[in-house]
């Protein structure tokens, strides 16, 4: 039994964790759920003895070997990887790009003196096969860049479980993965727990993932565990208001009024964009890769159109072509009948009528500019800058629920949700008719996401906007769109009214996407307000 007892943590005097008590049962999955900044990851790092400098810890973290918090760095080195393994969110950065996958898995064994180099490679081979990378298909000599994101995460898991640890900590292990890959990785983790009797601490923001995986769930808010218990009991009861709020937000349905008109606003016809692929060998021929392969779509005035697809399906390339940032090699994009040509010669008035909100609220703004200048940037598209620019910016900010005083502050003073509101204000400032939402809510916590979806719905009703809603998150698209397109390998494989596509998917790919999406069992949905 692994037990956290009264764990408290301060970083430079700021409280991070407060009196965390958690039992992690052997051979079971324990879920730790919370929003960003709630202290989930810090809890994991404390158990690994990997806290950043400037931390003061109190309390205990009992493993079989005793209190982890009382151990020296030297003792922790022996413990890490050996008795406690960890996998992270981003499998790309968790692997060394210049070492083969076999060597990386074997390294863990050699470091802990468990095996000679030759034996270690044999164990690595067996471990990689166990996580679904058999040597026939994935030789040990592969490098991380030759694998997909899901395969890399499998390598990380093989490294973490190479020495049969007592405890495996998985910190958002599937957040960076596509939904079908996520389902496979979760299956793998569950299988490992069942077969090898280790404990898994699954840290995630996604209630649905926990519902399908964990035997025991703890909900964390601002450094405290506010509620914990057996998964089903906890979901049925939801005694703590925070749990109920998280739950409500994760299945939130923004109040939308259908206002789509039958007149087309954006039309894409037979769009084709291909890239040259790298040459194989010095004299090899370079191939071509069709990122967008004959896509035709239409967004009507005032309509919300969803575009769903996994990473690499060509969504981003298509988005850039629609926005006139990159040229197409074939086909046409028209806004209100006028053709969009990529490049700097695009008519500014055409550009004005189409704006965009990006995914990452932290990368969407120049850190050296104040909010007023950031929001006013699209005024560059106007022939003359409006005299009352400042009041226009204030009005746009008011539209998205940000006070006017924010204009004189820098972007780093705002939270992720506030930044996304500011990004929407920037998109609204030129009174566009179409806003492209490129994964605009994917990086947000569930409660913030629900607020932003509500905001988008009310802005749509108020300004008669059309949205092109691009996302890999099916639940978001389902809640917020009138029609949906499913994209795979550069082609649209299915389209139709959102509810029809989701309830009666036609294409096998759509069906597999919907089946892979984790969901909370319908009969668990009790809670105080149901």
């Amino acid at each position: 039994m692994i037990r956290l007892e009264g764990l408290s943590l301060d970083i430079h005097g700021a409280p991070i964790l407060r009196d965390v008590n958690l039992d992690i049962a052997p051979g079971k999955v324990t879920g730790l759920v919370g929003e960003s900044g709630s202290g989930k990851s810090m809890t994991a790092l404390a158990m690994m003895g990997l806290l950043p400098r400037g931390c003061t810890v109190s309390g205990h973290a009992w493993l079989e070997e005793g209190d982890v918090l009382a151990k020296s760095e030297r003792e922790m080195c022996a413990l890490r990887g050996n008795r406690v393994g960890m996998i992270f969110q981003e499998p790309m950065t968790a692997l060394n790009p210049v070492k083969t996958i076999g060597a990386q898995v074997a390294e863990t064994l050699v470091i802990h003196g468990r095996a000679s180099r030759r034996d270690a490679l044999n164990v690595a081979r067996a471990r990689l096969a166990r996580v679904g990378l058999p040597e026939e298909d994935f030789p040990l000599t592969r490098y991380p860049h030759e694998l997909s994101g899901g395969q890399r995460q499998r390598v990380c898991i093989a490294m973490a479980v190479a020495l049969n640890p007592e405890l495996l900590i998985a910190d958002e292990p599937t957040t960076a993965l596509d939904v079908t890959t996520q389902a496979q990785i979760l299956d793998l983790l569950k299988g490992l727990v069942d077969e090898e009797g280790m404990s898994l601490l699954l840290i995630t923001h996604d209630l649905a993932v926990v519902a399908g995986m964990a035997a025991h769930v703890a909900v964390m808010q601002e450094g405290r565990i506010v509620e914990q218990g057996p998964t089903e009991t906890l979901f049925r009861a939801m005694t703590h208001p925070y749990t109920a709020a998280l739950f409500a937000a994760s299945s939130h349905q923004p109040a939308r009024t259908a206002q789509a008109q039958p007149t087309p606003l954006l039309e894409v016809e037979d769009a084709v964009r291909s890239y040259r692929t790298a040459r194989v060998g010095l004299f090899g021929r370079s191939g071509t890769f069709r990122a967008v392969d004959g896509v035709t779509l239409r967004v009507n005035r005032g309509e919300s159109l969803g575009l769903v697809g996994e990473s690499g399906c060509g969504k981003s390339t298509l988005t850039r072509a629609i926005l006139g940032l990159d040229a197409l090699q074939g086909g046409r994009v028209r806004l209100d009948g006028e053709e969009i040509h990529a490049g700097h010669h695009l008519d500014t008035d055409l550009r004005r009528r189409m704006q965009v909100v990006f995914q990452d609220p932290y990368g969407s703004f120049n850190p050296r500019w104040k909010v007023e200048r950031l929001v006013a940037e699209p005024f560059h598209l106007m022939q003359t800058r409006p005299r009352d620019m400042r009041s226009k910016v204030a009005a746009a900010l008011a539209d998205v629920g940000i006070e006017a005083a924010a204009m004189d502050r820098y972007i780093h003073e705002f939270s992720g949700g506030q930044r996304q509101r500011i990004a929407i204000a920037r998109a609204l400032i030129t009174n566009p008719e179409l806003i492209v939402l490129d994964e605009a809510v994917s990086a947000l916590d569930v409660r913030v996401r629900a607020q932003i979806l509500d905001l988008l719905a009310s802005l749509q009703a108020e300004h008669g906007l059309a949205y092109l809603f691009i996302s890999h998150d099916l639940s978001v698209v389902r809640a917020s769109t009138d029609r949906v397109l499913v994209m795979k390998a550069g082609r649209i494989v299915e389209q139709g009214p959102t509810e029809t596509v989701f309830t009666a998917p036609d294409h096998p790919y759509t069906r597999s996407l919907i089946a892979a999406t984790p969901r909370i069992p319908a009969d668990w949905q009790g809670g105080p307000d149901a």
Binding site: L346, R351, G363, P367, H380, A423
Partner: protein, 274 residues
């Protein structure tokens, strides 16, 4: 802990001392550096001559002060030339990544890099005659590719960010984006590189003056003070040691300041220091 660490402040202090001495030399020096007084030659350090005199009876402290002026002026203008031409070239190359322009700029860079800089500097001064101005030009030309490369590297990583895309959606062209968004965000890189090139410029000027191709007499220069002292190195070692020390300390100060500025501007380092 000081922001930027001890090295930044030590380096900045050393640099400022030399800068102050150089500026002071415009209005006041202890003794006139052009007035020869053979009677006072090779005096040891005293109250009148704080660091002693050389073989022409000139005050060494005064010569070091005026020499600092020469070194700093040459290095500063050389860095200025490098920045003024290199930064726009780098921005241009980054804004047109993968295009013919990019290729031409970067291969041109490689070409200049491939020349041994000091030998070419000697060639330039040999052809156009030795003078401080020609030394400046010779050193400056070799600063261009350095700044072009640093600028391009920094700019390329910015061009992929969402906020640049947002600016493009706002209809801004490459020139405008480069000036408004890219340049202010790579200034820290340029300042750090600037201090490093500055110290290299001082070394290069000293080297050129040492072989007689830099500032011409009677303008004092650290490099020529070293050259003049080499015949007397056994009898009057101070004549060689003092200008040598001036070069070493100035360059050390600039390098410390460059490293310190790098830490100062690096948000990761700043966070770790709290």
């Amino acid at each position: 802990m000081l922001k930027g660490g001890v090295q930044l402040w030590l380096g900045a202090t050393l640099t400022l001392v030399f800068l102050a001495a150089a500026l002071l030399s415009f209005v006041w020096v202890p003794h006139d550096v052009e007035a020869l007084s053979i009677a006072d030659k090779l005096r040891p350090a005293s109250a009148t001559y704080l660091l002693g005199t050389d073989h022409f009876g000139r005050d060494i402290l005064s010569m070091l002060m005026v020499g600092a002026r020469t070194s700093i002026a040459v290095a500063l203008v050389a860095v200025g030339i490098g920045m003024a031409l290199g930064v726009p070239l780098g921005l241009l190359a980054a804004a047109n990544r993968g295009s013919l322009t990019d290729e031409v700029v970067m291969r041109g860079n490689d070409l200049i890099f491939a020349f041994p800089s000091l030998v070419i500097a000697i060639l330039i001064t040999a052809v156009f005659g030795p003078s401080a101005l020609n030394a400046i030009l010779a050193i400056g030309i070799f600063n261009i590719p350095v700044f072009a490369r640093v600028t391009r590297g920094g700019a390329l990583s910015l061009w992929t960010l969402d906020w640049i895309l947002a600016a493009r959606v706002a209809g801004k062209g490459r020139v405008r984006i480069s000036a408004e968004h890219i340049l202010p965000n790579i200034l820290n890189l340029l300042i750090v590189q600037g201090t490093i090139q500055f110290s290299l410029g001082i070394l290069a000027e000293a080297a050129l003056s040492y072989v007689g191709l830099g500032a011409q007499p009677p303008t004092p220069s650290w490099g020529r003070m070293l050259a003049d002292a080499q015949t007397m190195i056994y009898t009057n070692p101070a004549l060689a040691i003092l200008p040598g020390l001036a070069i070493v300390i100035m360059v050390l100060g600039l390098n410390l300041m460059g490293d310190g500025l790098r830490d100062f501007f690096d948000p990761r380092v700043r966070r770790a220091r709290g």
